[in-house]
Symmetry: C2
Subunit: 481 residues, 2 copies
Amino acid sequence: MSTLCRAPSWQRRGFSLKYILFTPKPPTRAFSTSPRGPGLRSLELDEPRLKKLKVNQSRLMDELHHTCQWGTGERWGEQGTETGMRRLSLSDADKQARDWFVDATKALGCNISVDAMGNTFAVRPGRAQGAPTFAGSHLDTQPSGGRYDGILGILAGVEMLRVLQENRVETAFPIGVVNWTNEEGARFPISMMSSGVWAGDIPIGHAYALQEVGGGTATVKSELERIGYLGILPASYEAMPMAAHFELHIEQGPILEKEEQKIGIVKGVQAYRWYTVEVIGQEAHTGTTPFGSRADALLAASRMICASHTAAADHGALASTGILTLSPGSVNTIPGKVKFSLDIRAPSDNIIDKLEKHLKSDFDSIVSTESTKALPLSVTWQTDSISPAIHFHKDCIAAVRASANSVLGDEALSREMVSGAGHDSVYASRRCPTSMIFVPSRDGISHNPKEYTSPGDCAIGAEVLLQSVLRYDGLRSNVGN
Amino acid sequence: MSTLCRAPSWQRRGFSLKYILFTPKPPTRAFSTSPRGPGLRSLELDEPRLKKLKVNQSRLMDELHHTCQWGTGERWGEQGTETGMRRLSLSDADKQARDWFVDATKALGCNISVDAMGNTFAVRPGRAQGAPTFAGSHLDTQPSGGRYDGILGILAGVEMLRVLQENRVETAFPIGVVNWTNEEGARFPISMMSSGVWAGDIPIGHAYALQEVGGGTATVKSELERIGYLGILPASYEAMPMAAHFELHIEQGPILEKEEQKIGIVKGVQAYRWYTVEVIGQEAHTGTTPFGSRADALLAASRMICASHTAAADHGALASTGILTLSPGSVNTIPGKVKFSLDIRAPSDNIIDKLEKHLKSDFDSIVSTESTKALPLSVTWQTDSISPAIHFHKDCIAAVRASANSVLGDEALSREMVSGAGHDSVYASRRCPTSMIFVPSRDGISHNPKEYTSPGDCAIGAEVLLQSVLRYDGLRSNVGN
Ligand SMILES: [Zn+2]
Ligand SMILES: [Zn+2]
């Protein structure tokens, strides 16, 4: 609690938050991609020159693990780095990681802005003024999370700044790295919270008032103040416009590993809908009630769960049930009531619509097949959440694709994907061109201490991120934007 | 609490418990089944004379509803008798019903014995001494029970005594009515508790020590003492032998009603086994994990529940799941672990064995079909309870069959049945010839305030009970037993 009301270290060292970030500044013109060559602008970064901009894998991984000293979690292996992470948003550990981010990016020539949600923007000036092209992700983790989800995206952004600096690359427009606050929604229960505020989709008052889960009294606002990250820049896409947003992230699924591919070119985010389905039957004695006289709510629900799986597979979609409760809950009483959650996902809203329709019809058939004249079953649906499909921007997707091909040298090593989970890029994409880059997750495991992506795969992802940002900057420069 | 340590009314009125019940007593020889005829012994009760012994339907029903003033439960209809019952074993209401039973049977010429479990035996002397042929059931109910389960069996027994008295029937051997303590196992959690002690299958110390459910401190023994029903007769089939035990009971299932039949001739009680089945899969994100990479414990469990239903139907058996729990229980996490109860029942142990084997093989197939190479599922079975099939005695079954045919005049109006639920007759059958008589339950509903059997059906059942007891007494007389 000694940090209460104390300015963060980078403020005490004389850095002051700027409302207007892009102060004119003489660009560092003397740089080169080769020891002998002249200074080179990104619009002149042709394919061979881009290829020479190499991510330093051990530097990237050393720095990533260095930052995992703040909020170290559960140990799962014997190696020093084989622990998970527990770095809840706006905790002391999160503050330490944020301070590192500010110090590191400042040392790389960036200007830092913190907005009213604690979103922290490190911007490296370009030749011309304008909205920066951003690499962004998050430094907070789940309570029992790993070392890669979110963290890799930020660390790869910092590595990008280092590569630009050591190669003295001047970009056409500013390049930024953004650390979004409370992406996980684990401590304060709204995920992608602060990119949502930035995008204008979540009211800041609502976010500020959120209390931490588990009965504590801390709120988002009180914790932002406490750790010194309640910035003066409005949390808004208008106050901090972005030319584009690229996010390197672990896949959190098994596809790349299974297909032995290295990069996912993320075209968008799946649509999903969440429902609560309630099945009402009739309680009855398990011993005295023949099958023909039952209205077994659990048997009907079981058939629905099986049917949802089959129908989703037929539609190229997903269906999952994570919660199921029943009553009365006695070994020798047939359940009269069952409630279960249903989570359906598909790449397009159209498929979701069709699947929902299909399932409603399937469930109705199950109910009428299982009903007897005397004992009808019934089913009702409640829609709990609707998240439409997100389609990323074609220019950003093209930049990622070109970069993946350049880095991997083989189109077969990358694939187009749709993200199954939400990310800050969902909200970013509402206000600027966006895409994401996925790297393999071992065994598809995430939100778990054992979450793991190999150093080689992390470096490949970071290099694709670097190239994507530079390609986008080059594209803007070419179109004079 | 004013009843504490106070002798029951029938004790205060001078009746004393007898260890040896069958004191010689001059049999009432002057009686007749017709106003003009001579005294008639049951061995001489031929078919036409048996048919003349008629149950008085309104007397039976009036007395049944009269006793339901003690422990009246939830109202479900507008008529005076349209309430359920809440008469927990050894409660004040139970004591009042017991006192009524003692007074009523004593007034009908019975000797009363109360054993160490509070089992209350009312015995009407016969011409010869010997173990009585009993009609028995229970006066306790579920906390939210009805007016027929158990109660009808006792009231029909008392009506039987009335019919014998008003027709001045002298039986060959004594005829008794027994009220068994805590059949429901609702207040003290062992069902058929005191017939179990009588049969020597439940140790009396274990029964005595049982505490009431819901956190109270009362035990079976303290409550027996409190209400004055801790008798001095040992609770044992040796101290109180029975020549036979007949039990009239509501079906508690829908079969008789559905088939438009009036009497179930109960040949035995189904075998059942209870298991806890545990399915272990792998938690994973619902959005990022394709079907091919899942080990969905709930999907597998749902398939098992459906398969258990199909297999049981194929074997002419029943399978039911009344409890299902899962973890971790989050809308967007595929359950990694599911536990569910499985209750299988069949008329014979042989069918149960086959069904168990069939289901173990089915569940193994489901587990291997749903498993992927990287993510295996597993299933384990735990056996929680084994109750072998009970086969009632052929002579008792024959007596019930003959009585049903006599009362109904049409074989099509009765059917042989196997009881799906346990009853005191299960334990009785371990120590004497036994059978049961079922009457229809409206909508198959039981253990519910709405439990209902029509007055006509109650009277038919009571008349079949009366005849069955007399036929068995006649059989003993004929074989000199
Ligand atoms: Zn993330
Ligand atoms: Zn009963």
